[in-house]
Symmetry: C2
Subunit: 132 residues, 2 copies
DNA sequence: TTGACATATGCTAAAAATGGCATATGTTGA
DNA sequence: TCAACATATGCCATTTTTAGCATATGTCAA
């Protein structure tokens, strides 16, 4: 139901601009990890060195992180000091927490035989046998 | 032409096929949320109704979820019953937990004045003035 | 077997994301 | 003001992802 009559403007999934999508990129996660580690603030140039991307690319990823609120920026002379805004990551944390109860159970009761029984089904269910 | 001297394997960011990327898509998150809610297993047809995607699209998203280990499949007659594999989500949960200490502090000590002081800098630093 | 049903896959066109390079913008100091 | 430095943006070409439709594959029942 409600197959949503695609209003021509949302032909696609729409906004990629949310935290979940932002952390889907490994580079951006690298940046976040980097900001979480050492000093609380980093100039773009430092991130460029640590993450290993070139400056424009780094700036673009930082922009995405900025737009979804994952990082903060502050000016310091000709530098821009980026810092983590962990609060945004909390959204993801909270979402994953929704599933917490599952793996708590799954590991104890289910997993044991799921590893054996279910495995059989999956092997022939998850083909990956692309070629026809 | 032949511009791609590129090592052929790492032309881009590489494997998009990891859990983080999988949950970056809202549709897929919807599917996961769905599987987390009601009965522990769902036939594809049921997911189609609940999530609101057409069958092929649903199957494709399920495939992605399957390939990154976020869901399990089991055959039941002509149906395929999908169930959540929360264990895979735990990976994301653990990653976010890395930042837990930040928002615990940020909310208490930092946030208070960060909301005011830093905001000023950001406004003029986070333009979003796309059009030029 | 045949036919209805359930789900997966192939193919194509379009959209979105990305890397790279060039360059604009903003800052500091002489 | 000019030059050097730091960072952000614009633009282009390419890769990736995805929606949609058609259809293949597999299952059950008569």
């Amino acid at each position: 139901m409600l197959k949503m009559a695609y209003v021509d403007s949302m032909v696609r999934t729409a906004t990629t601009l949310d935290v979940f999508n932002a952390i889907g990129d490994r580079r951006r996660r690298d940046i976040l990890d980097c900001l979480a580690r050492a000093p609380s603030e980093r100039a773009v140039g430092e991130l460029v060195s640590e993450v290993g991307l070139d400056q424009p690319t780094t700036s673009k990823h930082l922009r995405v992180l900025r737009e979804v609120g994952l990082v903060n920026v502050r000016r310091a002379g000709r530098h821009r000091l980026y810092s983590l805004n962990a609060h945004a990551i909390k959204a993801v944390h909270d979402w994953t927490r929704t599933f917490e109860r599952f793996w708590q159970h799954q590991l104890t009761k289910i997993k044991e035989h799921a590893e054996t029984a279910h495995r059989a089904d999956q092997q022939d269910t998850d083909p990956t046998k692309k070629g026809t």
